[in-house]
C-alpha cells in the first residue's frame, strides 16, 4: 500500500506562474520529507527537504510546506520556468529502527511549463 501519494499525475502551468505540487502521506512516523526532480533518462535529483519540526522551508524559487495534522505537503515553484518541466517525486523517511535508511516515494507528478 502506498504510504506516500501524489494524486495528480500531471500538471501544466504557464511560464512565470506558480506551480503547486501536492503530496499526501499516511504514516505518522515519517519525520523527514524530500522532493526530487527527474528528467528523462536521468536519475532523480534532490531538490529540497523539510524536517517535521518545521512547517516551511524555502530555497530560491522553491518552497516546501508541511501540514502535519493533515499529513500533507506541497512544493511551490515561483516563478515557473520551462526548464522546470520534469517529473517531481515526493519522498519521506522515518527515524531509525527497521526503516533506517529507507525512503518511501510517491508515483510522481509530471510538470510541464509552457512559454
Amino acid at each position: 500500500d502506498q504510504q506516500v501519494k501524489q494524486n495528480s499525475p500531471s500538471l501544466s502551468v504557464q511560464e512565470g506562474r506558480i506551480s503547486i505540487l501536492n503530496c499526501d502521506y499516511t504514516n505518522s512516523m515519517f519525520d523527514y520529507f524530500l522532493w526530487y526532480k527527474k528528467y528523462p533518462a536521468e536519475g532523480p535529483t534532490f531538490l529540497i527537504s523539510i524536517s517535521s519540526i518545521k512547517d516551511k522551508n524555502e530555497d530560491g524559487r522553491f518552497t516546501v510546506f508541511l501540514n502535519k495534522s493533515a499529513k500533507h505537503l506541497s512544493l511551490h515553484i515561483v516563478p515557473s520556468q520551462p526548464g522546470d518541466s520534469a517529473v517531481y517525486f515526493c519522498a519521506a523517511s522515518a527515524p531509525g529502527g527497521s526503516t533506517l535508511g529507507r525512503l518511501y516515494f510517491g508515483r510522481g507528478t509530471q510538470l510541464t511549463v509552457w512559454p
Binding site: 506516500v4 501524489q6 523527514y32 524530500l34 526530487y36 533518462a41 536521468e42 536519475g43 532523480p44 535529483t45 534532490f46 527537504s49 524536517s51 517525486f89 519522498a91 523517511s93 527497521s98 526503516t99 533506517l100 535508511g101 529507507r102 525512503l103 518511501y104 516515494f105 510517491g106 508515483r107 510522481g108
Partner: protein, 116 residues
C-alpha cells in the same frame, strides 16, 4: 566523475538469464541504496548498505535478488533467473550517512533492464 555511476545503462536479458548491475557511489559516501522503478511508478526500496554491511534487505522481492558491497565502495545487484516482471529501471543512490536532513540521496542514472 563526481556523481554516482551505474553500468550498464541498458541491459536486455532473456528470461531465465542471470544479470549483474554495477554501482560506483560517490567517493566517501558511507551509505548505498538500491531502488527499483517500474514504469509509471516511483522508486521502490530494495536494499541498504552502510559501508560493507547490508543493514536492510527487506525490499528485495525474492531470493533471486542478491546485493553485495564487499569493500564498502562498489556495489553489485545480481538477479538470478530473470523474469519478465523484473523489467524496470534499477537505481543506485549514495549518501554521506543514512537519509537524514544532512544526507540527501544522490542517485545514479540507473540501469534499464528489459527481460524478454
Amino acid at each position: 566523475g563526481a556523481g554516482v555511476s551505474q553500468s550498464p545503462r541498458y541491459k536486455v536479458a532473456k528470461r531465465g538469464q542471470d544479470v549483474a548491475l554495477r554501482c560506483d557511489p560517490i567517493s566517501g559516501h558511507v551509505s548505498l541504496f538500491w531502488y527499483q522503478q517500474a514504469l509509471g511508478q516511483g522508486p521502490e526500496f530494495l536494499t541498504y548498505f552502510q559501508n560493507e554491511a547490508q543493514l536492510d534487505k527487506s525490499g528485495l522481492p525474492s531470493d533471486r535478488f542478491f546485493a553485495e558491497r564487499p569493500e564498502g565502495s562498489v556495489s553489485t545487484l545480481k538477479i538470478q533467473r530473470t523474469q519478465q516482471e523484473d523489467s524496470a529501471v534499477y537505481l543506485c543512490a549514495s549518501s554521506l550517512g543514512g537519509t537524514g536532513i544532512n544526507s540527501p540521496l544522490h542517485f545514479g542514472n540507473g540501469t534499464r533492464l528489459t527481460v524478454t
